[in-house]
């Protein structure tokens, strides 16, 4: 069994109750932080831990915190990004539903480090049943003196609120989230200025993912150095991976970073192998936005080394032969899955979710969707494949926020690794008419 931090006590009955949670050692980090540490000392431990943003970008959390503008005369804010909506990702939902106090405790300790006296959890509006769970947890924390005025008799005060979104993937982008929290459309802002300088209401703000924040209590309790001992190299700690697709045991798993990908997919402790005894065709390792990899490249790098669940190993080979750890949304495709249909599906998603600010993304996602619809439905032309590559290239890097890149990468990578499936759809329209058509024959070497 590998080290568990977030899910260590997940099987304890009634963990959503604060007394039960405290019985497992919960809320100790609040006491330790506000009574024995300065805010900068907390930030220092997070820096030492090597913790990286668990929402997808993987940016070092302690460094992000240290960018927060000081002495501006304005209040500072911590905003938790609980707008989990990256296809394939359902880890934050799990954590908030079954271990809500881990997030609340992390919010308090992190807010203390950042000097924030008001903090918000921006949760996607569809998680209707989780709102009462979090609100009850917050009420319990107030009642125990972990929230409100003069927390545990210290000078530090904090109010914490949950805010619902309205249904928009783009609000997972931190500046779109802030716009949305201000009651506006979720249009991402041009950076710089970054939220650390100009965030919520024009004040210095840190936006962190649910899982990132929930990791902070352990780091404060045990020290950043201890956390850094878990994992490999610059991929420290544990990571929640939500596994789905054609596997035997879909679900949320906490892994020590560094676990071999092969073990994760095939061992009974995790995914339990491919459903129905089929072969694995491909994997999207970090949410729909990261490049898709064929089975052989997800298990081994191009150099032939075993691929590990770390930021570095998954991106080994760049986009030519690698991918990204991303959000930890791990989607497995079996041999029957149609890569063309799935790529078309993802493109519909990005077209629907584009906020419409930047022309390359607003128009490009629609073009890619139309061309892929054409290919999937047997009206494609060989030129369409290069057209898709061209459109994807022209979206990438030409938009205000990363949604453009996120829309371009799945298309570019699917064509890079599965070009023959696209060609087959174009050359044999009669064989792919039915959406449950027989799998595209595996490419034979000539």
């Amino acid at each position: 069994m590998s080290k568990k931090i977030l899910l260590e006590h997940i099987n304890t009955p009634n963990l959503t109750n604060i007394d039960v949670y405290m019985g497992t050692g919960g809320y100790k980090s609040v006491e330790k932080a506000v009574k024995t540490m300065t805010p900068d000392e907390v930030t220092e431990e997070v820096k030492k831990s090597g913790l990286r943003g668990r929402g997808g970008a993987g940016f070092p959390t302690g460094m992000k915190w240290s960018f927060l503008a000081k002495g501006t005369g304005k209040p500072s804010y911590l905003v938790c990004n609980a707008d989990e909506s990256e296809p394939g990702t359902f880890k934050d939902r799990f954590l908030m539903e079954f271990n809500p106090h881990s997030l609340i405790e992390g919010m308090i300790t992190s807010s203390y480090a950042l000097g924030a006296n008001t903090s918000y959890i921006y949760m996607r509006g569809e998680f209707t049943w989780i709102f009462p769970i979090l609100e009850k947890a917050i009420d319990e924390a107030y009642a125990k003196g972990f929230l409100g005025k003069n927390i545990l008799g210290s000078d530090y005060s904090l109010d914490l609120y949950v805010h619902p979104g309205g249904g928009a993937y783009i609000c997972g982008e931190e500046t779109a989230l802030l716009e949305s929290l201000e009651g506006k459309r979720g249009n991402p802002r041009i950076k710089p200025p970054f939220p650390a300088v100009w965030g919520l209401y024009g004040c210095p703000t840190v936006v962190n993912n649910v899982e990132t924040i929930a990791d902070v209590p352990w780091i404060v309790n045990h020290g950043g150095d201890e956390y850094a001992k878990i994992g490999i190299g610059r991929s420290t700690g544990t990571k929640l991976i939500s596994a789905c697709g054609n596997i035997n045991k879909p679900g949320v798993y906490e892994i020590e970073l560094g676990l071999p990908v092969e073990e994760f997919i095939f061992s009974d402790e995790y995914c339990g192998g491919i459903a129905g005894g089929k072969k694995m065709k491909a994997v999207v390792a970090g949410g729909s936005s990261v490049p898709i990899l064929p089975a052989e490249l997800i298990l081994k790098t191009a150099k032939g080394e075993p691929r590990l669940m770390t930021y570095e190993s998954l991106s080994d080979g760049g986009f030519a032969t690698g991918t990204m750890l991303g959000s930890g949304g791990f989607i497995v495709f079996d041999e029957n899955a149609c890569i063309v249909r799935n790529t078309w599906n993802f493109t519909q998603f990005y077209h629907h979710e584009s906020c419409g600010q930047c022309s390359p993304c607003r128009e490009g996602t629609g073009w890619m969707e139309k061309v892929l619809h054409r290919i999937e439905n047997g009206h494609g032309n060989m030129r369409d494949i290069d057209l898709l590559v061209d459109v994807a290239r022209k979206i990438e890097g030409n938009t205000i926020c990363p949604l453009g890149d996120a829309a371009a990468w799945p298309v570019a990578s699917a064509i890079r690794h599965f070009r023959h499936e696209f060609e087959y759809h174009i050359l044999h329209p009669e064989k792919v008419k039915d959406r449950n058509h027989a799998p595209v024959p595996v490419l034979q070497e000539v």
Partner: protein, 166 residues
């Protein structure tokens, strides 16, 4: 013209409590939560009257409310059935038969995605990833996620909804 839509006393109290979560002068932040309340009080959709009421409540221009309501997918700008069946259609769900679920619902209810049954009981809507990929296929109906769907489960749910008085 007089606006016929208004919050109940309970909704008004909740709205005022929500506004207090945000700093003074930043009550616009309450717009999304208040639109959820308004939609709940208006049979699941936002009429112009309901949006104008929210604008008035938060002292905003109506356009500031319309542009937000039309941006987010949870807000319905047309009348919907009593039960809106929101089926996830994104990749991971499709790997586990979401398209079959959509076909089955369309055939069973005799309506297409985006339509409402003549008795105004059901609307089928497709939605993008609801973070339920490990329990696919799934649909959201009001507060609840119905997961690991199959035909029997769907049949049972439709009977339950059809018999329900709410």
């Amino acid at each position: 013209m007089e606006n016929k839509f208004q919050f109940t006393a309970e909704a008004t109290a909740l709205a005022n409590k929500i506004i207090k979560r945000y700093p003074e002068g930043k009550s616009k932040s309450a717009l999304l939560p208040l639109l959820h309340i308004a939609q709940g009080e208006n049979h699941g959709w936002l009429s112009v009257e309901a949006m104008d009421y929210v604008a008035d409540f938060l002292k905003l221009q109506p356009i500031e409310v319309y542009e937000v309501a039309s941006f987010y997918t949870m807000y319905n700008l047309k009348p919907v059935g009593k039960y809106v069946l929101e089926v996830c259609r994104t990749g991971p769900c499709c790997l586990n038969g979401a398209e079959d679920v959509i076909d089955y619902l369309q055939n069973k209810l005799g309506i297409k995605v985006g339509e409402t049954t003549p008795d105004r009981k059901f609307t089928i809507k497709t939605v993008e990833c609801l973070a339920s990929c490990g329990t696919a296929p799934m649909m959201q109906v009001r507060m609840h996620y119905h997961e690991n769907l199959n035909k029997e489960k769907i049949d049972g749910l439709l009977v339950e909804f059809a018999d329900s008085k709410n």
